[in-house]
């Protein structure tokens, strides 16, 4: 019995020494070689990765046809067959050791309206939004092990590519009929999507951009090697109103809360894991 114990102890020590010194990488085909400029690969290596979790953003949103027609009338090129709204959001990957990485995803077309008539013959020229010049990013690969993947601050933003006019109605007087008065124009910009307001019974009191069931629940404790797809679908739409010039333009009445809340349309966001 003692002989067996001695042998086992010796073998254990030797086995551990072999795997410790040579590394199980001695059995591992995943050598990573140092590449020098001429392509030679000497014996220097770095450690294997543990594995990866991949997040991809799939932008399945589309423009409302009325909005596309309006942009075309304004001289904006909307003939790209891959035309889709520009979407931006940030994802936080929290790892099992409580460290985290925040990655910003941005994807979509770079179309926008450059000017609008604000009455009295004047025109308002907007500046090129810097977000439209940002490189697109639709995937990220992080190391295992990932504890949680979530949209930061539940904030998904969609770029509204047109000026939105806010107008008010001046009541009629004895001398003048009711008039539409221009108040302000909102430049093309990113607008955050919001969840419907509901009461205590769950009934919708104010329709916004997401139904309460259409926001993603963050997946947790993902298996190493998982692929996570964040899929946003929906239609970018804006209200139209007869403005101060009697022309149908994107805009809303200052007292029309429902129309303002519904900007920029209706969406669904789901997360799928494989």
């Amino acid at each position: 019995m003692n002989a067996i114990r001695r042998r086992l102890a010796a073998v254990s020590a030797l086995s551990l020494a072999i795997t410790g010194l040579a590394g199980c990488s001695a059995l591992n085909p995943s050598f990573v070689g140092l590449l020098v400029p001429d392509g030679a690969v000497p014996a220097t290596t770095i450690e294997n990765a543990r594995g990866h979790v991949v997040f991809i953003f799939v932008n399945n949103t589309e423009f409302d046809p009325t909005l596309v027609a309006y942009l075309r009338d304004q001289g904006v090129d909307v003939d790209d067959p891959n035309l889709r709204p520009r979407v931006r959001f940030r994802v936080r990957f929290t790892f099992v050791d409580d460290s985290f990485l925040s990655v910003e995803f941005i994807d979509g077309s770079e179309v926008f309206q450059t000017q609008v008539d604000v009455g009295n013959g004047s025109e308002f020229v907007g500046l090129l939004p810097p977000d439209l010049t940002q490189n697109e990013k639709n995937n990220a690969v992080v190391l295992c092990d990932v504890a949680r993947v979530e949209i930061e601050q539940n904030l998904v933003e969609v770029f509204v590519p047109v000026f939105l006019k806010q107008v008010r109605i001046q009541p009629p007087t004895d001398q003048n009929p009711a008039q539409t008065i221009f108040q302000m124009a909102f430049q093309p910009q990113f607008v955050p999507l919001e969840v419907d307001q509901v009461d205590a019974d769950g009934a919708v009191t104010l329709l916004r951009n997401f139904g309460v069931r259409d926001v993603p629940a963050p997946p947790e404790n993902l298996a190493c090697g998982s692929a996570v797809a964040g899929i946003l679908s929906g239609t970018l739409s804006v209200p139209f109103i007869s403005d101060e010039n009697g022309v149908n333009n994107p805009g809303f009445l200052n007292t029309d809360i429902q129309r303002q809340a519904a900007i920029p349309g209706r969406y669904q966001f789901r997360l799928e894991v494989r």
Binding site: A3, I4, R7, L8, V11, S12, S15, L16, T19, C24, S25, L27, N28, P29, S30, F31, V32, G33, L34, L35, P37, G39, V41, I46, N48, A49, R50, G51, H52, V53, V54, I56, V58, N60, F95, V96, D97, S99, F100, L101, V103, E104, N135, K137, N139, A140, V141, V142, L143, C144, D145, A223, C224, G225, S226, A227, A229, I231, E272, R274
Partner: protein, 215 residues
């Protein structure tokens, strides 16, 4: 007989210990740990079938956050009148890393075909083009830009092929600009196992194809 029994048991124990430590099917261990030590659980390269290359950036400094600027070039044939002209397009991604926990590495997938991959927005100036931004923050300060001083990798001369993983690793080194040195590594897909427990990158390809409208 007794000695033979001891020998057999000793041999079995040795095989068992080495196998247990290095077998990807050892369910006793965390799969990511097994993959780290012996591989074969989840893929480390996208593989040719997925039609991606994976670029990983690794921050092995002690206390410096680094934003890596990774650029790929693709050559496309475009028609100009009656002629076919080769046009080079670029795609740049900025990957931020922190020397904390598991946040020291980040990666991105690029669709094949890719002609060249390197650091900095202009791959022709590796010794002067800012490629790493030291002490960068997410949504905050941009950091201090330093060149990568590493030549871009070129698929045309066989540095990599579609399906491979390319790694850029930053380590601390005195006497260099910014105190950081970058090395480049390639993990060829052809050297990898062909079957895995989870087929990560082909699942990504399937996600993309399922969402595209039928033509």
């Amino acid at each position: 007989m007794r000695h033979a029994t001891i020998k057999v048991m000793t041999g079995l124990a040795a095989v068992g210990l080495v196998t247990l430590g290095c077998n990807s099917n050892a369910s006793l261990f965390n799969p990511s740990f097994v993959n780290f030590t012996s591989g074969g659980v989840v893929p480390l390269t996208p593989g040719l079938a997925s039609q991606f290359i994976l670029v990983r950036v690794v921050n092995n400094t002690n206390d410096t956050s680094i934003e890596f600027v990774v650029t790929v070039e693709r050559e496309e044939q475009v028609s100009q009148g009656d002629d076919l002209v080769t046009q080079t397009t670029r795609e740049t991604q900025r990957l931020i890393t922190f020397p904390v926990g598991t946040a020291f590495e980040q990666g991105v997938l690029f669709e094949c075909p890719v002609t060249r991959v390197g650091l900095g927005e202009n791959l022709n100036n590796p010794t002067t083009e800012p490629a790493l931004f030291l002490n960068a923050q997410v949504g905050g300060q941009a950091g201090f830009g330093v060149p990568g001083n590493v030549n871009p990798l070129d698929a045309r001369v066989g540095n990599f092929t579609c399906g491979d993983t390319i790694v850029f690793q930053a380590t601390e080194q005195a006497g260099t600009v910014g105190g950081v040195r970058v090395g480049s590594f390639v993990l060829p897909a052809a050297d990898q196992p062909t079957e895995y427990r989870i087929d990560t990158f082909n699942n990504v390809r399937r996600f993309i194809e399922e969402q595209q409208p039928d033509e």
